[in-house]
Each structure stands twice: as structure tokens, then as C-alpha cells.
């Protein structure tokens, strides 16, 4: 297979390799297949494993990133930046096209600042949630992070993909402030207040002056973020881990309506997470232990599963931060409201400042990163997953409508509904996880068909995905269809203007710019 991008000669390609090596050292650039294989999507839903990069180059500083971008521009070599490359379920580290070099930023793993008084950290792209957690612990900072499911992920990568977490600052992009960005021509930009030399508010206020551009570098191919500020939460006096369980399938809409006011007015500190029984059952090992028949698991088997596991159709959890008396008083009011929903039971656990967190779910509320959610992949042999996640108003009626649409669609394709509602107050992300055997082409095809159909049916009703897998970026971009895809057209105009050679991440979020596909 040729590694050469369209219009690039072997001679130019070799020169680019040599210049990359001069910048980063020969150890950190390679086109060997054994190295390229490390950047494929480990959870690819494609039976051929998806795309494989033409090589990788791994700079260790902003200056090296700038130099690499200039070389890429000079020789027209497309580059795909990745921070930790653990964006599993969304494509991992893989680029959209085979002729793209991965720009691996994992070596840029410095924690540049932790500010105790103003509660933020500044990190490079290679810093994972686990890295920052260890750093905070080891250095005695009384600060918590909001962590997502995968603790090995990059803080910057996750925020730029608009990931969400379980803590107070759960909207990771909205609570990340002040970026340093290498532009497609190698120029260097600082956003917000950082646009002014020596400005002390760079990572605490995104105000700046003139048009705000931070969003242009999220889910985009307009630049490469080399450092960013991230808000942290001062360790509270205590945290109350709150749990609820609801027996019946039709309880979920009622729960949304009951919990919404408590989330909007700040009584509840963290997102409200509500998952169906398969969210928990998938942690118990292989699916065949529960059901080995055709199609999706029938409702009567799900009910039986609930009884055996001692769980509800729906299980929910969230956290309340504060002194013991205060959080328990808040919980009492919430419990009283929840008790009006038939078949609901509740429980809670309080941890004072510095007390060891003993329950796994509560550790997420307290900003302790882990990988325990990956246990769910034991549900399938060679388990992998892709997710789709429509954004929906936090209203019971809206949950009812979208839940039925998604469940019915998946059942049509013989795929189980395994969903988690991450409710932020005014809206929720309905994260639907499709677990499949990555060595079984039929299973992959079934999941892909179900995925596409569900996403298109949701879009036809006006519900959009907040993020998607590499393989679906063009499709999802097209679903944002107001005024003949005005948004995508605007993105394309920007891309052509600031990256005229189409160097950075061609195809990211459906934006291709001037990139030309190789004729093969």
C-alpha cells in the first residue's frame, strides 16, 4: 500500500521524514508497519480494522509541533493530532484517511501549573486524568477533577472532543479556559485573555477581546492545542453519593421531571446519571450467561435479570457536595420528591473531607479516575463498543420519545439497548453503547446498521449527536442541516482560509477543506 498523499512524490515524502526526524529525533518518527499498527482504532466497527496512518511523528514541545506543522505544509503531508489516543469508541488514534501521519502528542505530558487559590491546572495534551490525579495527591493539593469513564484519557483531548465527566465541572470543554494553539501554518496563538502578553487571567476567564475563537479548536481541524487550562473543584467539606433504583421501564420520564429542578437550581452538584439494567448487568461477565437466543434480549429476560441482580429497570446516581448537615437536608427534599414515583427506592453514603471513598460509583463523584467501566466489554468476546449520544431536553416527554425511538430501532436490528442518560439540568446526553465482538464481521455489520439507522431517525426528529466515531463524521455533519448545512459550509470556508493546503486532520468532523484524496 502506498503511503504517499495525492500529488506527493516519494522524494518529497522521504525529505519530510528526514526533516521530521531532525526535529524530534529519529526514534520518534516512523513509517514501519509495526509502529503504524499502534495507531489503528482498537475498537473499530469495520471488519477490515479501519484506517491505518502512513506513519507517526511525536514532538515533545510546542516549538517542535510548530516545526512539524511547517514541514507538513512544505511537503503537503496531512497530519492527525492525537493527545493520548484513547478516544476509544470514537476512533482512538486513527486518522480519517490512510495517507495521514499521526502527530502523537503523548510525550508532551507536563503539568505546567496547579493553582490552589483559583482552582485550576494547566496541562499539555499528553497529561491523562490519572496523571493529574496522582500529581494532585502527591503534592497535597486539595482539589478535585471531574473525571470521565476512561481515566487514561487525555484531559485536553477529552475536553476538545466535548467529553463529559461525573464531577461538578462536568462539561469539560466549557470548564476549560485559555488555550495555546499551533495554527496550520505553524504560527502560535493564545486564546482569551492569553492573547495579551503576561495576562494573569489567561486560564480563569475566557473573555478576551473581540470574537471568541476557543470553540473553533474543539472537534476541529483548525489548529493543534498544545496547552490548556482546566478548572478544578476545591475539595468540598463532604460528598453525599446518592443512588436510586426504579422497578419499571416507564419510570424514567417521571424521574427526569422530578430531578430536573434540583439539578437546574444547583441542589445536585454533579450530573444525574440514569442507566438501564444492562448498564449494570454488562459488568457481570459474558452476555451468553443471561441470554443466548436470537435478537435483542427480550423484556421478560431483562426483568428476570433485574431480580437476580437485585436492581431496578433503571438505576441512577449523582452527588451532592457540602457539609454533612447541609447535603443530608438537600437529599431529604430530593428523596421526598422521588418517593412520589412508583417503585422507586433510594440510598446514600456520606464521606467527610479526607475520608476514604469505599464505593466505586462514589469515587467517580470525588474525581478519582479509573477504568472500571471497561468491565462492561466482557459482555462480548473480544468486546469493543461504539456509542451514539443524542442531546435531548431534560424533559420526561422528550426522554420517553427518544428512548422508545432508539430502543425500537435497535431491537429491529437485534441489538440490545444499553443506555445512560447523563443529565446536566436543561438537557441530557443519551449515551447509547453498542457492544460488539470486534472479531465478528456479522456482529460489526449488525451494530453499524443499527447505529446509522438510529442516528438518522433521531436526526429526522431533530435530535443531534454531540460527538461521533471517525467512520460517521461525514454522516453526522450532514444531519446538522439548517439552511442547507450552513454550519458545515461555514466550517469548510474557514478551513480553506486558514489551512489552504488541507494539512491538519482532513475529514475531522466532516470538514475536508482543500484536501484531495489519493487516486487508488
Amino acid at each position: 500500500m502506498s503511503l504517499l498523499p495525492a500529488g506527493v512524490s516519494k522524494r518529497s515524502f522521504d525529505r519530510a521524514l528526514k526533516e521530521f526526524a531532525d526535529i524530534v529525533g529519529s526514534e520518534w518518527v516512523s513509517t514501519q508497519e509495526e509502529d503504524r499498527a499502534l495507531y489503528v482504532d482498537a475498537y473499530s466497527p469495520d471488519s477490515d480494522g479501519g484506517t491505518m496512518a502512513s506513519g507517526f511523528v511525536a514532538p515533545n514541545s510546542t516549538e517542535q509541533v510548530q516545526a512539524c506543522v511547517r514541514v507538513a505544509n512544505k511537503y503537503k503531508i496531512p497530519i492527525w493530532p492525537m493527545s493520548a489516543g484513547r478516544n476509544l469508541a470514537y476512533g482512538g488514534a486513527a486518522p480519517k484517511t490512510n495517507d495521514t501521519f499521526v502527530l502523537d502528542l503523548k510525550r508532551m505530558n507536563r503539568i505546567l501549573e496547579v493553582n490552589d487559590e483559583l482552582a485550576y491546572a494547566v496541562v499539555e495534551p499528553g497529561v491523562s486524568f490519572l496523571d493529574l490525579y496522582r500529581h494532585l495527591k502527591e503534592n497535597g493539593h486539595k482539589l478535585w477533577m471531574s473525571v470521565p469513564g476512561p481515566g487514561w484519557g487525555s484531559i485536553i483531548g477529552n475536553a476538545l472532543e466535548r467529553g463529559a465527566g461525573y464531577g461538578k465541572d462536568s462539561d469539560h470543554f466549557a470548564t476549560s479556559v485559555g488555550m495555546e494553539v499551533v495554527l496550520p501554518d505553524g504560527d502560535l496563538l493564545r486564546t482569551g485573555m492569553g492573547a495579551m502578553e503576561k495576562n494573569p487571567s489567561w486560564h480563569i476567564s475566557s473573555t478576551g477581546f473581540g470574537p471568541s475563537v476557543d470553540g473553533l479548536f474543539s472537534q476541529s481541524n483548525f489548529g493543534i492545542v498544545t496547552q490548556m487550562g482546566r478548572f478544578l473543584t476545591p475539595e468540598p467539606e463532604g460528598v453525599l453519593g446518592c443512588e436510586l433504583s426504579a422497578e419499571d421501564e416507564d419510570a424514567a420520564p417521571l424521574l427526569m421531571d422530578v430531578l430536573r429542578p434540583f439539578k437546574i437550581d444547583g441542589t445536585i452538584s454533579t450530573p444525574v446519571v440514569l442507566g438501564n439494567q444492562l448498564l449494570i448487568a454488562a459488568y457481570t461477565g459474558n452476555r451468553s450467561k443471561w441470554y443466548d437466543g436470537p435478537g435483542a434480549i427480550p423484556d421478560d429476560v431483562l426483568k428476570d435479570m433485574q431480580k437476580k441482580l437485585g436492581i431496578g429497570w433503571w438505576s441512577g446516581f449523582f452527588g451532592i457536595y457540602g457539609p454533612e448537615e447541609e447535603v443530608k437536608s438537600k437529599w431529604k427534599r430530593i428523596e421526598a420528591a422521588l418517593n412520589k414515583v412508583p417503585g422507586v427506592s433510594t440510598e446514600s453514603r456520606f464521606y467527610g473531607k479526607g475520608e476514604e471513598i469505599t464505593h466505586q460509583r462514589d469515587s467517580s463523584l470525588a474525581g478519582i479516575p479509573h477504568l472500571e467501566e471497561f468491565n462492561s466489554l466482557n459482555w462480548a468476546s473480544n468486546g469493543a463498543h461504539i456509542d451514539f449520544s443524542p442531546v435531548v431536553p431534560m424533559l420526561g416527554s422528550e426522554l420517553e420519545k427518544t428512548y422508545r425511538l432508539v430502543k425500537d430501532t435497535l431491537t429491529e436490528f437485534g441489538v440490545d439497548y444499553r443506555g445512560a442518560i447523563y443529565a446536566e439540568g436543561r438537557f441530557f446526553r443519551q449515551v447509547v453503547t453498542l457492544i460488539f465482538n470486534r472479531n465478528d464481521p456479522e456482529d460489526q455489520q449488525r451494530v453499524r446498521n443499527a447505529f446509522s439507522t438510529a442516528v438518522n431517525r433521531l436526526a429526522a426528529e431533530g435530535y443531534g449527536e454531540y460527538r461521533t466515531h471517525l467512520a460517521y463524521m461525514d454522516d453526522v455533519a450532514k444531519t446538522y442541516n439548517f439552511n442547507d448545512n450552513a454550519m458545515l459550509r461555514f466550517h469548510e470556508r474557514l478551513k480553506k482560509a486558514i489551512d489552504p493546503r488541507g494539512i491538519i486532520a482532513p475529514g475531522k468532523s466532516g470538514i475536508w477543506g482543500s484536501y484531495k484524496k489519493r487516486d487508488v
Binding site: E27, W28, E34, D35, A37, L38, Y39, A42, Y43, A58, G85, R86, L88, G92, A93, D104, K106, R107, G126, L130, G151, W152, Y283, G285, N286, Q360, P369, H370, L371, E372, F374, N375, L377, N378, S381, N382, G383, A384
Partner: protein, 108 residues
């Protein structure tokens, strides 16, 4: 029972582990423990237990651990485990990790 990484400096002092093994122990702690520790609900540990049984679930006390297998799985992944890149675990760090795991298994 979980083995303490803290014991390594002491053992280094009395000459029972090599520098490479000590560095390998750090790599294990930094990269592997989040999935392969012996505490409850670890995906890697649970997966190995399901495949090979309870007695083999600790990578530091497991009959199937050898240099070739560790190298192969770290660089190629297995099941839900993705491959680890050189920018995460360098070739030198992988050699040290292997030395540590093999030595730990030989102690059993």
C-alpha cells in the same frame, strides 16, 4: 493480596531486585495497575480470571506470563485491551516491565 510497590526500594537496597526490575515495577504501577490490580472490579483482572481461572488472574503470579507473551500483548492488545505505543511505554520501559514480571513470577 495486593503487593506493595513500596517494598521495591528496600529489596533494591538488599540486592534482591535489579534497577531494571525496580523501574519495571514503576511502569507496572503507572500503566498496568489501573486495569490489572488485584482490587475489586478491575477489567483486566476480571477478564483474565474469566479466561484462565482465579489462580492466574494476578500477572505477578501467573503461569502464562513470559517475556514473549507480555511483549506481544502490550504491543498488540488483546480482547478489550488496546495496544500501548512507544510514546506510552518505550521499548526500554517494556523490557524493564518484562524483567519485573518474569522475576515476580519466578519468586512464586
Amino acid at each position: 493480596m495486593k503487593k506493595s510497590i513500596l517494598a521495591v526500594p528496600f529489596l533494591l537496597l538488599i540486592g534482591l531486585v535489579t534497577n531494571a526490575q525496580a523501574d519495571g515495577a514503576k511502569t507496572f504501577e503507572n500503566w498496568c495497575e489501573i486495569c490489572h490490580a488485584q482490587s475489586h472490579n478491575m477489567p483486566g483482572t476480571a477478564h483474565i480470571e474469566e479466561l484462565f481461572g482465579e489462580s492466574r488472574k494476578d500477572l505477578r503470579n501467573s503461569p502464562f506470563v513470559n517475556a514473549a507473551t507480555v511483549r506481544q500483548i502490550v504491543r498488540n492488545g488483546r480482547g478489550m485491551m488496546p495496544p500501548f505505543r512507544r510514546t506510552e511505554i518505550s521499548n526500554a520501559a517494556l523490557d524493564e516491565l518484562i524483567e519485573y514480571l518474569v522475576a515476580e513470577n519466578q519468586k512464586q
